[in-house]
Symmetry: C3
Subunit: 287 residues, 3 copies
């Protein structure tokens, strides 16, 4: 079945010709294609950033949308090109874990190793499979070529677990900043699974510790924050965020992606570090 | 009547998933939609920048285009979501003044408070109404839902007057830099209404004073400027601009958005500051 | 014959209203248009950067695509607006050489000076012909107006030769960095024509000299590089590139667009500088 909607989630940037070349390849194969940029400014080489970006968006798109997710520092090596089919969506990506958070959300998965070279451009460059392999496969797929034509199913595809908060003492749960957004909001990896008390109203007294600074205020809207105050807020991705009203929390805290985040909640105790860590949370599904 | 053309003017940036999520929501509701990015890189939280961006573009689009204008630092507070209809266009935006320059240009306006929650996603996040409220309303609107279905008309919507130049002495008119563009051109708020002499050829002797520097040359094309010279030029937005040939006037002047700009024109006198200020100019309509 | 696909290659940036205004103009004329951004972040005023961007992309698009290439520091001067037709594509651009690398690749060219003012917006600004002249011409062209209606053919159009490597001693060939991409990869102007030995496997011993640093390793994939190592690699544009594995070669070398690059290859001798330079290479066509 043909589907003309194709999304791009890549780290190719918006300044170079890379994204334009991939679009040309697709339109030449399928002039009826409708290409939608999710983001082409994923942090360079940052597979987790790509994984978060597609995981936060694909479920909002119509059934049968084709999602190209190209963050591919291993281009030209033996890492495989994949075609992944879930109940409602299709994905084309390198086999490096960039779809890990999609795998985490989806119960039914078919993962194929794309090997049908007659769908590729020729010659194939060493450094730009987005143009030479992934884009033409997306083009043919959008024209209705069956997924089975692209290659065999595999089960040993790469996946990583998103970093989960862990207790480091009976009082402290330690997590990490997953990303800083354009506004300077810092998205942590704490969800309702690890810190349910912070997702309720009213919240008990708590402290979020980042870069030797302490955040102990929860707000329900950015605009409730005082000038230059950093507060916690339940964000739209399903994660606890640190934010500031019309300001950049990341700058005020001097922290960024990868910074460690400790949380202490009054009256909450965790098992000692030696005990098994909390069950891996499922990333919140916004819709 | 259905219209599939939907534009985006937002401060959500191009690096995160925000714009992609909004596009997904719209395409899921209306696969025939055609979404056009005007800009998603409005300065963060900058309502004036968003107001200028949409005011400089909407009138070039076809009748019945739906314009989403989401610069929304008050998301999650009591500020209302609006659906605005003018003679030829439709706008969806938070009620924070971001449409003020549209209101200024349009004689006939219908402004509705969007209250029909059955058009929204569920649940609604506290921090991303672009995805949860504004995008689905745009999607339904593009499918032909009548504007009256979204909520009641209101008259107390927020609007601000764009900053207008004022005389500060009989010789000096004082204005401001409204924005610096990608090239470093500085767009002031002086129009043909306040300084008609500078919009004619030849111009009388004049001085533009910015950051203790003086600009006294008018050029008719960027390429007429000398190397590292800053000159005045009548820009395409209908405002007087300060520019440099293949260089950034903002860097050469050490000035930026919000910098004060004084203008002295030989032979022109203004009433004293105590007198009523000049009539508010109408922003120039480029087409 | 009508063709609805129109691409944008411009230096107008993604932060301002410029690109949005041009899109509006086109959609108002032709609501069936399909506009594709190749890049709107060409370096400001940088005609070579624009020339490289369109030359690396247009051939991937379907026949009869209309390419708008607007890097136009001479806007408002006597430089002409052009409509260029090649065997398979159409281009609209200022006559400043921004299509030079297209001219270099195409055997059959028709170049017309656009003079039919009834296709322009009115009034025409001094500073934004992208909106007032180029976009409406693209809109009319996409509706099927014949190219001959826009103006007469000319033969004295501006073109420049892309900078070519030249021997500066019997051992050293000197070239230049054409551009640095989003990843920090440095694209040089060395192709298979000037340094065929480096495009074969295995390569002979060689040195690339940039900014007093020496690169002497060739890799077949980015991921083969060691941490913080800068290596040479044959890139997807047909040029020799300098790159680093998950890092920015430009930062590691302290070099950028315009930096000089010397190459010494063991066993390869060039004629003395006084002799005629090597034949101008044709830029590699990726497909």
């Amino acid at each position: 079945m043909a589907n003309n909607l194709i999304t791009f989630t890549t780290d190719f940037g918006t300044s170079d010709h890379y994204v334009g070349a991939m679009k040309g390849v697709i339109y030449k194969l399928n002039p009826q294609a409708q290409i939608v940029d999710i983001s082409n400014a994923v942090n360079s080489f940052d597979i987790l950033d790509g994984a978060l970006t597609i995981a936060q968006t694909y479920q909002f798109f119509p059934p049968d949308t084709i999602h190209m997710v190209i963050v591919d520092p291993g281009v030209g090596t033996a890492r495989r090109p994949l075609l992944v089919t879930t109940e409602k969506h299709k994905f084309i990506a390198p086999d490096n874990g960039v779809l890990s958070l999609v795998y985490e959300r989806e119960e039914r998965l078919s993962v194929r190793h794309i090997t049908s070279e007659h769908y590729f451009l020729s010659p194939i460059s060493q450094t730009f499979h987005g143009r030479d392999i992934f884009a033409p496969c997306a083009g043919w797929l959008s024209k209705g070529v069956e997924t089975s034509k692209f290659g065999e199913e595999v089960t040993d595809f790469a996946r990583f677990a998103a970093p989960k908060p862990k207790p480091v003492s009976p009082q402290i749960l330690k997590g990490v900043v997953l990303k800083t957004d354009k506004f300077g909001n810092m998205i942590t990896n704490f969800t309702v699974k690890e810190v349910p008390a912070l997702f309720q109203t009213p919240t008990p007294p708590f402290k979020v510790l980042v870069n030797s600074k302490e955040v102990n205020i929860m707000r329900a809207a950015y605009a409730q924050g005082m000038h230059n105050e950093v507060f916690a807020i339940i964000g739209s991705m399903g994660y606890l965020e640190l934010a500031s009203n019309r300001g950049a929390a990341s700058r005020l805290l001097g922290a960024d992606r990868g910074s460690e985040v400790g949380i202490v909640i009054e009256g909450v105790n965790y098992s000692a570090p030696a005990a098994p860590p909390a069950a891996p949370p499922q990333a919140a599904a916004p819709a």
